[in-house]
């Protein structure tokens, strides 16, 4: 067998892929019959897993144990956040037909051509090594395969070169056939999803093969491995210290790469057909990552056991089926790896070539006025050609990088350095999404700073040995300055090389971004764009986009459309707009502003936002809006919002105030009514004794001949009635005093038991007369409390008088100790209190309102006063019914 069989296989596989893609493209085959669009979307996201995953994870695990994990943990853990960011980017891209990150960033910062170029170049430098990594993986496959079968050294590089050529052809076929890059490549996505299935299937298959065929079970692998360690045949790969900090850094750049890698942007944003697919991705994508990682450790350990150090661990996956001569499995695994590599290369290259064409090629042609009919360059073919050219040079570039540079580096390190590179765009992109005041200057400064620190701390150290100057800088620092050593910048050497590089590049990057944003201002166009981007979620999308007064004659616009979309399509696009919106089509009229907007979006989808701007500027009599005008409009907008907010707040406040006033008024009215009623009741209560006093006095005055006994009787009643009035007046005054808060408590330590004894004595005669028994249930001899003795005596007196008034045969005093307080109850066996009256009974003059009760002797203020007294002591008084009859009045007091 020779590697040619693999080439044949690969070609057949590519043909199958292409068949799938073109069938889907031409709607010959409805993919949704087999698999839902959401699942296709999730599988296409798995383009994240490249050959680096397929081969590199095992290689990495065979050296560092679980050290391969953070690259997958990062996206998994941060996935909800990633989705939130994606959703925002998604809406912006749909609204403005943006097709790649360079266009996105340049659009955000006021259609800055310079920024677009910067980001494009940055990506090409950062990503080409990553693409070359895929080519290297394919090369490794071929080496492994041929070495195993025929030790003769064939020229692997030739095969890789041919592969590269095949890839160029297929990438062009997939991605650069249509002028409109914003159109979905559903065929491509179908093929990519299919590849995701193949690579997952291949990897799991080889995992099962190793775990259950070559070894008897995963446990078998682990136990053999333990034995091997004991006999020192193999090192313990799990011994590597778990380094939380370096894990964290790798997790962060991995998560950022999910957003910032061009291929992820392509599949997640550009190719998204429905926002709801993100919901499915939320759990399915992490599941995919989990599944593709599940056999990494068993294969890695199994490989160490079986092959030791004779084989590059990066090729363990393939080496197993080859070594057992299992051709079919070999082919499946090879195709799995091939899928992982090609999926990445194709999508990444398409995205990069669009960037290149939109930001470098087309703007150059337009600005140099190279596009015109007379010069014979057809703009449509220019767009397509420039993308094809981009694809070709990117893949060829990657091939040469692989051939001359990447040889010495393992899969994993190139991957992570690429991740660190694309992470440098995070502040500009994500910051620009959420922070309106981020400026163009800040974005480019931060990208440049990030790039150079990345270059210095991460790329430079890998060049050790290329020349003595480089070695000297690595050893002694830039210009011999020690704190400029690439691996311990500012003397900071606590981290490993990678974490150190990530830390400094991102930190300085962010500081630059924030700092420059604060110290620079956005220009007019930046303000327009940043407002539109940051507020994409809000419903009242400002109409700022229409603010540049583009005066374009319809005929000119039509000309542009015909140039870029072709005679027929271009004319249709414009005429359709007029018919749809019921606007008469007049060639010489000015284009309606909304049509200008619409056209800009359509053109942006084809040639990118920068070129669109240039093209429109060429045909328009532009009257650029001044900074002040924009600011005014923005301000107005903001002021309206602010005003609205304030008005809403004010009206809410007013409403609340009204409510409060109403309530206060009601309370006042109630209080007023209560006061009136109280006064009325008091005067009423005074009238009754006065009536009898006056009547009796008149009797005594008018009848001097009255008998002695009768005189005494009448005078006695007069005295009693006077006492009753005095008592009432005292109580009213007391109540007022307690109510108004004027009463000062005269707190002294008193024995409550002694007070009960005194009360008992003062009531003993009445008790005896009424034949009422008296019982005390008091657990201790003494209960000490700090109270106002006079007031509590009054309270007890009131409760006692009440009890005597109502009880038939017995009164009980009960003390219950409850933590730091005592509950004192006065229990009678009278009629008791109806449930609905329990709350009212403590009201002033309650007894009078209640006609059903016999009119008692008291003033009707006793319980109200008692309640006040106990409230002054910060305690409560309440009433319950006794069984079978009677009432229990209880209050509590704090004990010392």
């Amino acid at each position: 067998m020779s590697s040619s069989i693999l080439l044949v296989c690969a070609t057949i596989y590519f043909a199958i892929l292409f068949f799938i893609a073109s069938s889907v493209n031409k709607d010959r085959f409805r993919i949704s019959r087999i698999i839902s669009p959401a699942n296709v979307y999730v599988l296409s996201l798995a383009v994240y897993c490249t050959a680096w995953t397929f081969f590199g994870s095992v290689g990495n695990a065979s050296k560092t144990g679980i050290g391969f994990l953070p690259v997958y943990l990062g996206p998994t853990i941060f996935f909800p956040l990633i989705i939130i960011v994606w959703l925002k980017i998604l809406r912006i891209c749909k609204e403005y037909r943006i097709t790649n990150i360079a266009d996105f960033i340049s659009s955000r910062y006021g259609h800055s051509n310079y920024l677009g170029v910067l980001v494009t170049i940055f990506y090409i430098i950062g990503i080409i090594p990553y693409i070359s990594l895929q080519l290297k993986a394919i090369g490794l496959c071929l080496i492994t395969f041929t070495n195993y079968n025929a030790p003769s050294k064939i020229n692997v590089n030739d095969s890789v070169f041919y592969f590269s050529l095949i890839l160029i052809v297929f990438t062009i076929l997939y991605g650069a056939r249509n002028i409109d890059a914003s159109e979905k490549h559903k065929g491509l996505i179908a093929a990519i999803s299919f590849e995701s299935i193949v690579k997952l299937f291949g990897f799991i298959l080889v995992g099962l093969y190793v775990s259950f065929y070559i070894f008897s079970s995963p446990f078998d692998i682990f136990s053999q491995y333990q034995t091997a360690q004991l006999t020192n045949v193999l090192p313990n790969i799990f011994q590597n210290q778990f380094n939380g900090v370096s894990w964290l850094f790798v997790m962060i750049i991995s998560a950022l790469s999910m957003i910032l890698l061009p291929r992820q942007f392509q599949v997640a944003i550009v190719e998204n057909t429905n926002e709801s697919h993100l919901n499915k991705a939320l759990w399915m994508f992490p599941l995919y990552l989990f599944l593709i990682n599940i056999f990494v450790i068993p294969i890695a350990i199994g490989g160490l056991l079986k092959f030791g150090n004779h084989i590059d661990p990066d090729t363990f996956v393939l080496a197993f089926p080859i070594s057992t001569g299992n051709l079919w499995l070999t082919l499946i695994v090879f195709l799995g790896g091939l899928s992982a590599a090609t999926g990445m290369v194709i999508v990444e290259t398409i995205s990069l070539s669009t960037m290149l064409s939109n930001n470098l090629v087309i703007p150059t042609f337009i600005s140099k006025k190279l596009i015109s009919e007379d010069r014979g360059i057809n703009p449509q073919s220019l767009v397509v050609l420039s993308r094809r050219f981009g694809i070709t040079i990117i893949i060829i570039g990657a091939y040469f990088f692989e051939k001359y540079v990447a040889e010495k580096v393992s899969l994993i390190s190139i991957g992570l350095i690429s991740f660190a590179a694309v992470s440098q765009l995070a502040p500009a992109l994500i910051g620009g999404l959420y922070w309106r005041k981020a400026t163009k200057k800040a974005a480019s400064a931060s990208i440049l700073v990030g790039f150079f620190v990345w270059l210095f701390t991460l790329i430079f150290p890998t060049l050790d040995g290329f020349s003595p100057e480089i070695t000297s800088i690595i050893k002694n620092g830039l210009f011999g300055i020690e704190w400029l050593k690439p691996t311990s910048l500012f003397y900071f050497s606590d981290l490993d090389k990678l974490s150190h590089g990530i830390f400094w590049s991102l930190l300085l990057n962010i500081i630059t971004f924030v700092g420059v944003s604060i110290y620079t201002e956005r220009d007019t166009e930046e303000i327009i764009q940043s407002e539109a981007f940051v507020k994409i979620h809000s419903n009242n999308k400002s109409q700022i986009a229409t603010l540049i007064k583009n005066e374009i004659i319809v005929k000119d616009l039509m000309y542009i459309f015909k140039v870029f979309f072709g005679e027929e399509r271009g004319e249709n696009l414009i005429k359709n707009y007029f018919t749809k919106n019921n606007i008469p089509y007049i060639e010489k009229a000015l284009t309606p502003p909304l049509l200008v907007n619409y056209s800009e979006k359509l053109l942006a989808g084809a040639i990118g936002p920068i070129a669109t701007k240039m093209v429109i500027a060429n045909i328009a009599n532009q009257q650029p809006i001044s900074m002040n005008e924009v600011l005014d409009i923005l301000k107005e907008n903001q002021q309206t919002i602010q005003l609205n907010k304030e008005l809403k707040k004010k009206s809410a406040e007013l409403g609340k105030a009204t409510e409060e006033l109403k309530l206060a008024n009601e309370q006042l009215t109630l209080l007023d009514e209560q006061k009136d009623e109280f006064l009325y009741t008091v005067t009423h209560e005074l009238r009754t004794p006065l009536t009898s006093i006056r009547a009796l006095s008149e009797v005594l005055f008018d009848n001097p001949d009255l008998g002695e006994t009768e005189r005494e009787k009448y005078l006695g009643v007069i005295i009693k009635e006077t006492e009753r009035m005095t008592h009432l007046i005292t109580q009213v005054l007391n109540l007022e005093k307690y109510d108004s808060g004027k009463q000062q408590l005269n707190l002294k330590t008193c024995d409550l038991v002694a007070m009960i004894t005194e009360i008992e004595q003062s009531f003993s005669t009445i008790l005896k007369n009424k034949n009422i028994a008296f019982e005390k249930i008091i657990p201790n001899n003494m209960f000490l409390a700090r109270i106002d003795k006079e007031l509590i005596e009054q309270l007890l007196y009131n409760l006692f008088s009440n009890a005597i008034k109502f009880s038939k045969s017995k009164i009980t005093i009960r003390f219950i100790e409850n933590y730091n307080e005592v509950i004192i109850s006065v229990i009678d066996d009278g009629v008791g209190i109806q449930d609905n009256q329990k709350g009212l009974i403590f009201d002033k003059f309650y007894q009078i309102k209640n006609k059903k009760l016999q009119k008692p002797d008291g003033s009707g203020l006793g319980l109200a006063i008692s309640k006040k007294i106990i409230e002054l002591h910060n305690r409560k008084i309440w009433v319950e019914n006794n069984t079978p009859n009677g009432a229990i009045f209880s209050f509590s007091l704090e004990l010392i």
């Binding site: 009238r687 009754t688 006065l690 009536t691 009898s692 009643v717 006609k851 059903k852 016999q854």
Partner: protein, 123 residues
């Protein structure tokens, strides 16, 4: 035959002097210490004058007045309210129910006796 007077009040200290005064004026006097007692007394005792307190725990004076004014057999009975309720509404209500007189507590027994004489003379 002496005029008959019924005095109704729940306060014994008010009943006491009124009973004394009315007896001294030569009337035939019955007293009731609450509304129920009053109603049971007038079942077979038709007084010329009822001195009627309003606020009583069981049946209030207004109800007794209404009862008396409804029945023919009390055609000759005149109701005099004596009450600590002194608001205009209360007084109006008393007259509306058919009372001949409404006096507010506290009152002078000297004036009361004269007013009763007048009422009896009108009859």
């Amino acid at each position: 035959m002496p005029y008959k007077i019924l005095i109704v009040d729940d306060d014994p200290h008010i009943l006491m002097p009124l009973e004394f005064i009315m007896l001294k004026s030569g009337y035939e006097v019955l007293i009731a210490r609450n509304g129920t007692e009053a109603l049971s007394i007038i079942a077979d005792f038709i007084p010329h004058i009822v001195l009627l307190d309003i606020m009583m725990p069981d049946v209030d004076g207004y109800d007794i007045c209404t009862y008396i004014k409804k029945q023919e057999k009390y055609d000759q009975t005149k109701v005099v309210f004596m009450s600590a309720k002194t608001s205009e509404e209360d007084i109006k209500k008393g007259y509306d129910l058919g009372a001949s007189l409404y006096i507010s507590k506290p009152f002078s027994t000297r004036i009361l006796t004269k007013q009763i004489e007048t009422l009896l003379a009108e009859a």
